[in-house]
């Protein structure tokens, strides 16, 4: 950390920022009144309720809200240019802004899928800024791009650089966006939820990278996150936002130890901590702050198998050359087997890009697996024709990792949530309407949002729409792919409780894919750990969490950050292991997965997983 003596001018100062949006229900205030400053070499973490205006504030700082229909209705955004002159960004010309954006201020966007241009290779998108601001040649920029990808821990960057965004996993995309923001070594880095899609090991490495950057180049970081553990690890100062206002600001220790505002208190109280469930065999709902008389009972589930997956294998072709021929395969899921019991939750954790989402999608046959058997309630999903498959989806739903991409941009939210019911005719008319309203209430979205369109929401709000949609049908199985990662901890707690409540009441089963180990610990009956397309360890949560056997599981557990600013992990605790790639030549023949039983309901992969 650079020595920030008081005299150093802040690099950016937000004063009484106010941003409004025009919607058809009249103007909506995105940010009401926010002021704070960011000093050189400092990390300011912005936390707060989902939808409180964090992203909008950061977009305002880039003067990008205008392109999304917003308007900076008031306030000043003072930016300190390198030459020491101050500039009010709120009134700067777009031409001038162009020389600042990407160059002096870098931004990591919240939703990486939609933030990337689908028709350009990631290499192309990465090198663009370099060519522009750093005056590099195409070739140099490409070389630098490979380097950047390596820095953000993407395996086989030379190959990935030629891939298109849709061919990457959620976490990889996010890392591409990070690399893009870091490319020109900006003086101010705005990171909007940069690690939600990353597993804890990679998250730790990314955080370390940002930390190093800060130290070495004096980059100031505005870090928006919901993960209080990350805040504890990263922040110098914390700004807490609530409903479009800043409610509290202070050094990180102060916020954690002596929160002032009620909301901050609630927030901290809701933070799930790893190890809270130690000793408890069954998951139970979280204690909610400020709610009295909450019943907290463990959820036993049943031991009837609902979903049984055997030897699932899914591969994607890698195209190359002008004629775009298949040159290799991505072995996204390789010989994976697991069972999910009725009324229980199986969590999948693992490194980013190891095939979790693909597993989830394969189970619903949203991607066609190469091999394997999938039995849902003894129905052979693999054997179904299109019509029966559709019927079968009445029983299984998915919450997509990237909620924005999974919502139709032209449909009102209420319609999107009602759509599953319309599809299957489960409810009609008034009843359907009521259920939609109920779902909105349950995921903590105001009913006034029902008429909005996806782009008018914050990241967390969109995610809740996606959750509501998945719940609409009362399915038997929900594949929840990073379903709660974009939510602030208090809403997260409510949504997690909602899911568990439904599980208890209706016997829902979840395939819960998450990077947040604390949440996983809280919700799961059983846990599978994936690495490079295979499940390396699977068993009851208690067994896996309290007695991890596989080296990767151990490393994972060790990397989990702790929500306590006094217990920061230092960089040397991390072991940067080179990450093997799942891309293999066409003639590659993988070995089958063989497991060793190490305890009752606890299996460890003995086949070489690459770790």
């Amino acid at each position: 950390m650079l020595d920030t003596d008081g005299s150093a001018a802040p690099i950016a100062r937000i004063e009484n920022l106010r941003v409004s949006f025009e919607t058809k229900d009249g103007p909506v205030i995105g940010v009401e009144d926010v002021s704070f400053q960011i000093n050189p070499g400092e990390t300011v973490c912005v936390v707060g309720e989902s939808g409180s205006g964090k992203s909008v504030s950061s977009l305002s700082l880039m003067r990008l809200v205008e392109f999304g229909g917003g308007k900076i209705a008031g306030g000043r955004l003072i930016f300190d240019r390198k030459d020491g002159k101050e500039l009010d960004l709120a009134t700067a010309e777009q031409g001038l802004m162009r020389t600042i954006r990407g160059n002096e201020i870098g931004m990591i966007f919240q939703e990486p899928m939609t933030a990337l241009n689908p028709v350009f290779t990631i290499g192309r998108q990465l090198s663009e800024g370099l060519v522009l601001h750093k005056g590099m040649s195409r070739k140099q920029a490409m070389a630098r791009a490979v380097e950047l990808l390596r820095e953000v821990r993407i395996p086989e960057p030379e190959r990935r650089i030629k891939q298109y965004p849709h061919e990457l996993s959620g976490g990889m995309r996010q890392r591409v966006v990070i690399a893009m923001a870091l490319a020109c070594e900006p003086r101010l880095l705005i990171a909007d939820e940069p690690t939600t899609a990353l597993d804890v090991t990679i998250q730790a490495e990314i955080l370390a990278l940002m930390d190093r950057l800060k130290r070495e180049t004096g980059t100031a970081v505005m870090f928006i996150t919901h993960d209080m553990a990350v805040v504890a690890q990263m922040a110098d100062r914390v700004v807490v936002m609530f409903r479009g206002n800043k409610v509290e600001e202070g050094p990180v220790e102060q916020i954690f130890t002596a929160p002032q505002h009620d909301y901050t208190k609630a927030l901290l109280a809701a933070v799930p901590k790893l190890g809270e469930m130690t000793g408890k065999p069954l998951p139970e709902p979280m204690k909610l702050f400020g709610v009295d008389g909450q019943k907290i009972e463990p959820i036993p589930g049943t031991d009837e198998v609902l979903l049984s997956v055997k030897n699932l294998t899914t591969r994607f072709p890698v195209k190359g050359g002008v004629m775009r021929r298949t040159v290799a395969n991505v072995h996204a899921v390789e010989d994976v087997s697991f069972d999910i019991f009725k009324g229980q939750t199986l969590s999948l954790v693992g490194e980013s890009g190891c095939g979790k989402s693909t597993t989830g999608r394969s189970v619903l046959r949203l991607v066609e697996p190469q091999e394997g058997a999938i039995l849902l309630d003894n129905k052979d999903i693999m054997a179904l024709n299109d019509r029966d498959l559709r019927r079968a989806r009445l029983d299984m739903q998915m919450i997509f990792q990237d909620p924005f991409a999974s919502l139709n941009p032209q449909m009102q939210l209420s319609d999107q949530v009602a759509e599953p019911m319309r599809n299957f005719g489960t409810l009609k008319g008034r009843a359907m309407q009521e259920r939609v309203e109920m779902l909105f209430d349950r995921v903590e979205l105001p009913r006034s949002f029902m008429r909005r369109y996806p782009h008018e929401l914050s990241g967390g709000q969109r995610q809740r729409v996606a959750i509501a949609r998945a719940l609409a049908l009362n399915p038997k199985l929900i594949v929840a792919d990073e379903a709660v990662s974009a939510l602030d901890v208090s809403v997260q707690a409510q949504v997690v409780n909602l899911m568990m409540e439904l599980q208890a009441d209706l016997g829902l089963s979840f395939l819960f894919i998450s990077h947040d180990m604390a949440v996983v610990e809280r919700v799961s009956h059983r846990v599978g750990v994936m690495y490079l397309g295979r499940i390396v360890e699977i068993g009851s949560r208690q067994a896996v969490f309290e007695n991890p056997q596989h080296p990767y599981t151990k490393a994972l557990m060790k990397a989990v950050p702790i929500a306590d600013p006094t217990r920061r992990k230092s960089e040397h605790e991390l072991n940067f292991k080179p990450i093997p790639s799942p891309i293999h030549d066409l003639d590659y023949q993988p070995e089958p997965s063989v497991y060793e039983k190490v305890g009752e309901d606890h299996f460890v992969l003995t086949t070489d997983s690459g770790y």
Binding site: F400, A405, Q410, Q412, P420, R447, R451, E456, L473
Partner: protein, 296 residues
């Protein structure tokens, strides 16, 4: 914040549409044109076929605001009369082509199995020489249709079908191209995961997202249909020669461009105005369907 209950999406689109200045202007102009040609005979009771040899090739005057033609017929009355045919043929044929084109395009783009067959069919239709095709259609169907529906309706059906089935192909290809890209979007996958049937998928998720090229096709299609109608009439495939239509009035007037410029200008303006107003209506619809564009 007031929580107005959500209304149907189409209601929503309609509200949005009504706020669109261009669309409203276009709508008004279009309505005026339609009303003009429908109510015109009452407002301007001159007989469009009334020949007056003393008043041949007159310029605009009070008695004949748009002048007269080479037989001394009142051009305004002929414009009104012709507008009915041009508009109804133009709009119906355009709709037919649009529906056909969109249907083929969406089916081909969405269902991989149908793609090849439908696109080869499109290629075939594109390759067919228009004139012989029309001649054959007329040969085979004019008399039966005239018998079944009466001469005018019969010919109307024939013309509309002829224009429709010979102009859907570009729309089909364009729509297909867009659908190919669209169906790989994640929200389509998401919609499939919530059990959206193919039909609903097309209706709810695909069609609203390919509306822009369809709208453009519609505007271009209407102009195309109006002109094609007159071309067909010259070949003797269309309406009887004493049926004025805008395209035909325009064609007839080209030779008189130097002495009676108003005779080319008027039908030209009528066609252009119609197309422009439909274009703005289309723009409005497009914008209304795009939730990101608002307030303009």
């Amino acid at each position: 914040m007031p929580s107005t209950p959500p209304r149907s999406q189409w209601h929503e689109v309609w509200t949005q549409f009504r706020q669109h200045k261009g669309a409203m202007m276009g709508g008004i102009v279009f309505l005026v044109i339609v009303l003009g040609v429908v109510l015109g005979p009452w407002l301007w009771p001159l007989d469009p076929a009334g020949i007056d040899f003393r008043a041949r090739n007159d310029g605009p005057s009070l008695a004949h605001p748009f002048g007269t033609d080479q037989l001394g017929r009142d051009m305004l009355a002929r414009m009104i009369d012709g507008g009915r045919v041009s508009l109804s043929v133009g709009i119906t044929a355009m709709l037919l082509a649009l529906v056909l084109g969109t249907l083929v395009g969406v089916l081909a783009g969405y269902f991989k199995r149908l793609d090849n067959a439908l696109m080869r069919l499109t290629d075939l239709f594109l390759a067919l020489p228009l004139l012989p095709l029309l001649l054959v259609m007329v040969l085979l169907f004019r008399e039966p249709l005239a018998k079944a529906f009466g001469i005018e309706t019969g010919i109307f059906i024939l013309m509309v079908t002829a224009i429709g089935i010979t102009s859907w192909m570009p729309t089909a290809r364009i729509v297909r191209g867009d659908v190919l890209a669209l169906k790989e979007r994640e929200f389509v996958l998401a919609a499939r995961s919530i059990g959206t049937t193919n039909t609903l998928m097309i209706a709810r998720h695909i069609l609203p997202n390919v509306i822009s090229p369809i709208v453009v096709s519609a505007t271009l299609g209407i102009a195309n249909a109006i002109i094609t109608e007159s071309a067909l009439s010259f070949l003797g495939l269309g309406f009887p020669p004493d049926f004025p239509t805008w395209g035909r009035l325009l064609f007839d007037a080209v030779d008189y461009m130097q002495q009676n410029p108003e005779r080319v200008v008027m039908p030209g303006i009528a066609i252009s105005l119609t197309v422009l107003s439909v274009n703005y209506l289309g723009d409005g619809l497009r914008d209304a369907l795009d939730p990101r564009i608002r307030g303009r």
